[in-house]
């Protein structure tokens, strides 16, 4: 083998090593299975649901779990299991969209802070600190007052509050690499900065960013469900987990099933992504242990 | 049962500590490591015993087993450590605690990390006097007295500083002051100069020698630096792969090493090389796998003088000269005869 075949990305070996270690990590494996189940059910939701999640009176009102209705029915006779599965689709959509947006923006802002002039770096750091000092929900409510409640608002709030964490990691990594000798040498040889960033910074930060993002999913889900629960996120009748819980809470003295059914997926998602994220972190990046 | 801390007067020629057949195992995920095997050694009263060898030879493990601070996965697999008629190898946690900081104390390798970083020097020096009935003022005065003993300038003001505000050399002086303050019978020094630079090393060694003579305690000095051992110690034990391979008075062993390993160690000591050379000599080969210690001589694989007997028969410590023993078949009087 010549030097030409050596890729700067140690990806394949690290990935297979990671999968092998994951198989030996009990909680990591549980997390992986849970996450796979949830993502799978979100993708295939329209084919899984036994009833139309929005259809009323498909069964008796506020029925306990039965063979026909696995998680019972709500106050207007909708099938809770179908609503929970459909809600998972919403939750995963919010998580995927907002975390992608936050990752991209964080990557860009982190690079700007790391490479730009000192004053710009300081300004960005201040903005990051300011954004981090908002309680997510309180900030979300403020945004709702301005642009009104919607699925988009939820995504916007989650994206904005997640950006600082990602941007800071990218910034630190960029700063460390900016003055590294091999970078200076390559620059002297005329390699352009954007290309250098693409080759050296990106592979270095992508792993930690993705691990952090996977550990952030529970937070995103909780924010979405929380805002929707308060009636400030996804609007009924769209079956978000928060909406299911809100409907259920109003009738908590009549039937516990909507609350139980709506909360189980939230707990499972949190467990799954936390387990998986922690396992990935331990496998790929033990240094994150302290930062996280 | 009498507490081991209660000293019983002993004749001067009886050793302070005698180690008989001590073996220590470490449980690791890859198997049991037999880190110390059948150690026989005496720490003489009021003298300095040096313990030398490469890293990984077990000298630190031996030092830590003398103060009962082996790591959690270590186990004393056999043998005894006798001190005043008590067997330290069988001591419970409470009895150990009574002994530490009273009769035995220790100076550690790295002064940068040995002191509590979040407490002042004075507080730490007063804490270790917690058994004394004296007042705070008395304890404070005693701390200052010992900081002066280790020649720390402006000792009184040092009580109120934190460790990170002192240099490495100063911190090691503080550690020595603390160790001596408890007036131990046995002071264990685990490579106390390794983390310091060369000029400081000599200062600390000289200081240790002076203070040892002044206080008359026994010192177990662990080092891989032959020069400091020659400077400081009365007796020396050379360790290799978890065994004592040679022991005796420093003068004898340094003048006429009898074990091939000791000889090789001296050949590799930069301070002893008289002929100009471009390459520092090294001993070829590596330490044997201590999960399965070799059947014959542990040094056989790296020894230039090995012969058939070394492969099959584990050598005992043969008396090589008056007061000097070596674990080598070449020293066996029977081998001479044949």
């Amino acid at each position: 083998m010549t030097d030409l075949t050596q890729s700067p990305l140690p990806e394949p070996s690290a990935l297979s090593r990671g999968l092998r270690v994951l198989a030996g990590n009990r909680t990591g494996m549980i997390g992986f299975v849970l996450v796979a189940l949830i993502i799978g059910s979100a993708i295939f939701a329209p084919w899984i649901v036994p009833y139309d999640p929005a259809a009323i009176m498909v069964g008796p009102r506020m029925a306990p779990p039965s063979a026909e209705h696995w998680l019972g029915t709500d106050n207007i006779g909708r099938d809770i299991f179908s609503r929970v599965i459909a809600g998972g689709r919403i939750a995963m959509l919010v998580a995927a969209a907002s975390l992608t947006a936050a990752l991209s923006a964080g990557l860009l802002l982190g690079l700007i802070a790391g490479l730009g002039p000192r004053w710009l770096d300081n300004v960005l750091l201040l903005v990051f600190d300011a954004l981090r000092s908002f309680p997510t929900i309180v900030f979300g409510l403020a945004v709702v007052t301005i642009i009104g409640p919607s699925l988009f608002t939820v995504m916007l709030v989650v994206a904005i509050t997640s950006i600082p964490i990602y941007a800071r990691i990218v910034r630190t990594q960029t700063m460390a690499l900016k003055n590294a000798e091999f970078i200076l040498a390559e620059r002297a040889m005329g390699v352009g900065m954007p290309r250098l960033l693409f080759i050296h910074v990106l592979p270095n930060v992508l792993g930690p960013l993705l691990i952090l993002a996977s550990m952030d999913v529970p937070l995103v889900i909780a924010t979405e469900a929380g805002l929707s629960f308060l009636g400030m996120g996804v609007r009924p009748p769209t079956p978000s987990w928060g909406v299911i819980l809100n409907d259920g809470y109003n009738f908590i003295r009549n039937s516990p099933w909507p609350v139980i059914g709506g909360s189980i997926p939230i707990i499972l998602v949190t467990l799954g992504f936390t387990f998986l994220g922690e396992a990935l972190r331990d496998i790929f990046d033990p240094k994150l242990r302290k930062a996280g | 049962m009498a507490s081991p801390a209660a000293t019983r007067p002993a004749p001067q020629d009886e050793p302070l500590v005698s180690i008989d057949g001590l073996s220590v195992d470490f449980a690791t995920p890859r198997g049991t490591i037999h880190a110390l095997r059948n150690i026989d050694l005496e720490v003489p009263r009021g003298k300095v015993l040096g313990l030398v060898g490469e890293s990984g030879c077990g000298k630190s493990t031996l030092a830590y087993s003398l103060i009962g601070l082996l790591s959690e996965n270590a186990r004393i697999a056999g043998g005894a450590i006798r001190m005043d008629g008590h067997d330290l190898a069988r001591l419970g946690p409470r009895a150990w605690r009574d002994l530490r900081g009273q009769r035995i104390s220790m100076i550690f390798q790295d002064p940068m990390t040995a002191l509590n970083p979040v407490t002042t020097i004075g507080r730490q020096m007063m804490d270790i006097q917690y058994r004394d009935p004296g007042t705070r003022a008395q304890k404070r005065a005693r701390a200052i007295e010992f900081l002066e003993q280790v020649q720390l300038p402006d000792a009184a003001s040092k009580l109120d500083v934190y460790p990170h505000q002192l240099s490495g050399g100063m911190r090691q002086r503080v550690c020595i002051a603390m160790a001596l303050l408890t007036r131990p019978d046995l002071l264990i020094a685990d490579e106390p100069t390794t983390a310091l630079d060369a000029t400081l090393e000599m200062q600390i060694v000289t200081l240790l020698r002076e203070l040892q003579e002044k206080f008359g305690c026994s010192v177990l000095f662990v080092s891989h630096h032959l020069g400091t051992v020659a400077e400081l110690c009365d007796e020396v034990a050379v360790m290799y792969a978890g065994e004592v391979v040679e022991r005796g008075a420093v003068a004898e062993v340094f003048n006429a090493p009898r074990h091939p390993y000791t000889q090789a160690l001296f050949d590799c000591d930069p301070a002893r090389i008289r002929v100009a050379t471009r390459h520092l000599p090294t001993i070829p080969g590596t330490l044997p796998d201590l999960r399965q210690p070799p059947r014959g001589c542990a040094f056989r694989a790296r020894c230039g003088k090995a012969f058939a007997r070394c492969e099959v028969e584990h050598p005992p410590l043969y008396p090589a000269a008056p007061g000097q023993d070596a674990r080598c078949h070449l020293v066996d009087p029977a081998e001479d005869a044949s």
Binding site: A130, P135, G226, I266 | L69, G101, A114, P117, D127
Partner: protein
């Protein structure tokens, strides 16, 4: 130490100012007339003009921001657009309820969490250690508002042990009404704190200075307290300090679910009425408290650890 505190305080003030600017700017970045936005569906032409003048929206943006900061420094957060009452009065009326709720929650949770974390590190692999591990993972994966729903379900609806609605009248009734909400907010913090304390205890216990303390035969209790815990508790302090933001978020839900008064309930109500001055005022005050909490946690760590004092 004093200089350090002052520098950090200055930085905190700047951060709060930037945070408020972000919220104010957001109002102007969104297309449309801010006054209409603030008034929402109730806007009549007269009311819009009135609001515009009252809030200074007719002046240029930089002037608005400067006046706004000037007003904040004088403790003036503006007026409620509907009733004309002072926003700072309204906010500070509600603040004590929330502060009591989150302080009680974090206090019991941190105390129990530190004790459990400490115990599990010192006695590894005992049943209580295993139990702590299981509880930690279990409670961390349940968001505060779900926990609040379950505490209502179990303790108020099924068992009927405790009240679920309101803040109660008088001292003892108030305490009875605090139990469930503070349980719902605090329980996951027991897990966070126990986990982080256990991990950092184990790390510190392996450090050479602890071995040295053992070499002097110091009593275990002294070693644990001044050689291990004093260092190992620091990550927990930081966690709690930066976690105050999450406490406020949790308080929003808990106040909604238990129908308690407080700043969270105030914000939710203001959002429903689209009463932006109140939302802005409440966000400003909570952000200020959060930044202050971070500052306090940094100072506590500087007080515990002399090495941190010189970092700045």
């Amino acid at each position: 130490m004093l200089l350090y505190a002052f520098q950090r305080f200055g930085l905190s003030v700047v951060i709060v100012m930037v945070a408020v600017s972000i919220l104010t700017l957001m109002l102007h970045v969104v297309p449309g007339d801010p006054a209409v936005m603030i008034l929402g569906p109730r806007a009549t032409p007269e009311l819009i003009e009135q609001t515009r003048v009252a809030m200074g929206l007719d002046r240029p943006l930089p002037v608005q921001i400067v006046t706004f900061f000037g007003n904040i420094l004088r403790g003036d957060l503006g007026q409620d657009v509907f009733t004309g009452r002072s926003v700072s009065r309204i906010v500070f009326e509600q603040l004590p309820y929330t502060l009591i709720l989150i302080s009680v929650s974090i206090l019991w949770a941190a105390t129990l969490g530190i004790a459990l974390g400490c115990y599990s590190a010192l006695r590894r692999n005992t049943w209580l250690d295993t139990l702590t591990g299981v509880i930690s993972v279990g409670t961390i994966s349940i968001p505060a508002f779900v926990m609040a729903l379950y505490s209502v379900l179990v303790f108020a609806v099924w068992l009927r042990w405790l009240p679920a609605i309101g803040a109660g009248e008088g001292f003892w009734d108030g305490i009875r009404h605090l139990i469930l909400p503070s349980f719902a907010i605090g329980i996951s913090w027991v897990g966070y704190v126990a986990r982080i304390v256990r991990a950092s205890m184990l790390e510190v216990m392996g450090q050479p200075h602890v071995r040295m303390a053992r070499a002097y035969g110091l009593p275990d209790e002294l070693i644990t307290r001044s050689h291990i815990l004093k260092i190992a508790v620091q990550p927990a302090v930081t966690l709690i300090g930066t976690g105050v933001a999450h406490l406020f978020s949790a308080a929003v839900f808990v106040e909604a679910i238990f129908a308690r008064p407080g700043i969270g309930a105030l914000i939710v109500q203001a959002v429903n009425e689209r009463n932006y001055p109140i939302v802005l005022g409440a966000v400003l005050v909570t952000t200020g408290i959060i930044v202050l909490a971070t500052l306090v946690s940094d100072l506590v760590i500087a007080w515990l650890d002399p090495r941190q004092r010189e970092e700045l």
